[in-house]
């Protein structure tokens, strides 16, 4: 037992005391944060406002276009679009959309241009000249026959590639023309608003605890699935690396003359597993603190925010499932490590288990969409997949207790088998130098007493 603890300590320290562990621990939240924030920052970078002239001989459409491009209108529109696309929208996202809309609304400056009775060619010539002089960025000519199907709207811009602006303008124009056509058909403005109002859908999840706000569940489930996937992949590979190092450097021979192979392998699994658990714990605890602080600040600022309710019981289950997943994949990686001769060779062989892990990660999307389908039931019980899919399912909609118990039981059974299998291969493979073991050889080692 003392030797076993020495092995565990050795493996744990080997990972945790390395600067890469510190960097990884700090970097993951930073990276995750960057993924969330950077695109928003980039999109919110404000371009120069577009100076645009609207030429509308009829004088009916242009005011509507201007109105549609106003800040208030843009906000309203963005809101609607976001709600339709995302259904569950967190308060922070909501805020972001509003800010973007404001910025978008401010991105047009309307330049007056008195077209008078000038012919179209002359207008175009004059405006083109203005654009060339840098006094104007774009102009839009609304034809008098705007309600005819073959009416030609002219849009000339020196920033024709700015699709965000162009899209916005084209939307505004479409709406303006449509409402003008309706009003021409004697449908009043208020009637119009009434008719085109969106339906309101109240989205809530239902489980045993009653109704629950689904706000943030999707994101939280995705993050937890991602976190488990990444840690399993990283720490599985860490096992592979550690095993191959001891084989490659022939340290295994000294180790085997000091402790039993099973002790050595299992000690390695436990040590590396604890290191992974440490990292996961740091992430989860810091995430909880950050979210807690964030909520406190938000509600202080008057923003109403609902976070998915995560109980202590859930967090304990996440850690249990991380460990189940870790032991499943780590024993496979230990087995591979003792078969191959170099880390590179091991890399090739680690592709299949990583694929299986990835499939489990993909299944988690199906689970998020429908946590109570029979597919969700089976993938959250099956070994190899359950370590990712079950935590996601628990977060989406807590399954009955017996399902969790069954899933844990089946995965523990799988681990027992895999650890046994890996230790059989390990004790022989670690002392076989020179060439990679073939499958028949490995089969022989397994059956060997």
């Amino acid at each position: 037992m003392r030797k076993f603890l020495a092995i565990v300590k050795h493996e744990y320290k080997k990972i945790v005391l390395k600067w890469t562990f510190l960097v990884g621990t700090l970097l993951f939240p930073v990276l995750a944060g960057a993924f969330a924030v950077v695109p928003a920052i980039i999109f919110s970078l404000k371009g120069e406002p577009t100076r645009i002239a609207l030429i509308d001989p009829g004088g009916k459409v242009a005011p509507r276009v201007k109105e549609n491009l106003s800040v208030e209108k843009m906000k309203e529109k963005a809101d609607k679009a976001a709600k339709e696309a995302l259904k569950d929208i967190t308060a922070t996202q909501d805020e972001k959309m509003k800010r973007q809309a404001e910025q978008f609304g401010e991105s047009f400056i309307f330049i007056d241009y008195n077209a008078g009775e000038k012919p179209l060619e002359q207008i175009q010539q004059e405006l083109n000249a203005q654009i060339n002089d840098g006094k104007l960025d774009a102009y839009l000519v609304i034809p008098p026959n705007y309600d005819s199907p073959d009416a030609q709207f002219l849009f000339r811009s020196r920033k024709a590639g700015d699709f965000v602006t162009n899209e916005g303008l084209s939307d505004a124009l479409n709406q303006a023309v449509r409402s003008q056509r309706l009003s021409d058909a004697n449908i009043s403005e208020s009637k119009l608003k009434e008719l085109s109002a969106n339906v309101k859908i109240d989205t809530k999840n239902i489980d045993e605890t009653g109704e629950k706000d689904s706000d943030g569940v999707f994101i939280a489930s995705f993050i937890i699935g991602m976190m488990i996937y990444i840690t399993l992949a990283i720490y599985g590979q860490a096992i592979l690396g550690a095993v191959v190092e001891e084989k490659e450097t022939r340290i295994a021979e000294i180790l085997f003359s000091s402790a039993r192979p099973f002790e050595l392998m299992f000690g390695k699994l436990v040590g590396v597993g604890l290191a992974g658990l440490t990292q996961l714990a740091i992430w989860i605890i810091s995430a909880l603190i950050l979210v807690g602080v964030g909520i406190a600040q938000m509600s202080a600022a008057g923003v109403d925010i609902v976070i998915p309710n995560i109980s202590v019981w859930m967090i304990i289950l996440f850690f249990i499932y991380f460990l189940l997943g870790f032991f499943i994949y780590a024993s496979i990686f230990a087995l591979i490590g003792s078969m191959v001769t170099t880390v590179q060779e091991g890399g090739q062989f680690s592709f299949p288990p990583i694929m299986v892990l990835l499939i489990g990660f993909y299944f988690s999307f199906a689970v998020i969409r429908d946590p109570n389908s029979s597919l969700s039931f089976w993938v959250s019980i099956a070994p190899f997949f359950a370590p990712i899919t079950m935590p996601v399912r628990i977060l989406s909609s807590m399954p009955p207790f017996w399902e969790i118990a069954l899933s844990i039981l089946i995965n523990v059974a799988a681990i027992t088998f895999l650890v046994w299998l890996a230790s059989r291969v390990y004790r022989v493979g670690m002392l076989m130098y020179g060439k990679r073991a073939t499958i028949p050889e490995v089969w022989k080692w397994i059956r060997q007493v």
Binding site: A6, I251, F256
Partner: protein, 302 residues
Amino acid sequence: MSENNATLKVENVTKRFGGFTAVENLSFDVKAGRVFGFLGPNGAGKTTTIRMIVGITIPDEGRIELFGEKVSSELQNRIGYLPEERGLYKKMKIADQLHYFAALKGVSYKDAEKRIDFWLDRMQLGEWKKKKTTDLSKGMSQKIQFIATVLHDPDLLILDEPFSGLDPVNVKFLIEVVAELKAQRKTIIFSTHLMETAERLCDDIILINKSQKVIGGTLREVKASFSKNLISLRVSGGERVLRDTNLVEITNENADSVEVKLTEMLDSQTFLKRLLAEGAIVSKFEEIEPSLNDIFIEKIRG
């Protein structure tokens, strides 16, 4: 060869890998406080036998007794094994590695710390304690590996080709250290195919070839049993004895000395007496012993 002071007893041990027999019906004893040469060409079964002694593998047949008990993981703590294929953790500090190896042999942290300092000092590597393996030269890491072998103060040391890759200065140094350990009544098994080294260091030897024992015993006994009754002498007179083909056969003659092979009619002492009785003046009389190398070559080729 009394039974009770045997550190190691190997009895009728056989080990097979699939259809290949690596070690066949091998028996030998290693006595306490002696340096035991475990000799044989590459692939003879030396490493397989050692792995069974240190408990890495288990014999298919036969029995191995260490310190009067069957091999167990407890007894592993009393063995120091320096494998032929050896290595260190590349990116780990020397002190940390040594601590790990010591802990695996059941040494407490405090004791290990003291011994690590002692041995690093003894090996003149004191200032390398906090360095990593990658900073070390090959000779240095070999000395670190040796430290890992002796750190837990084992009663039985098994050194598999300990000098391969070392420069002569370090070889001499290591031989001194081994001599010190022998003086502390440690039992040492040397596995090597270098006969010159074995001849210099070993009290007892066993020679194995093609998974079987060829010859074994004290170095003296082995050499004696291979004696060809060759005598090198420088003599004036005594012609009658020298030319008597019933007694001797001249195998080599040059201006200064002559080499003769005695027939079964007489032993070396009688031969000397006969020469002196003839009035010959003997200024050199030396029995030529076969070197271990000669024995090795003869046995392995034969």
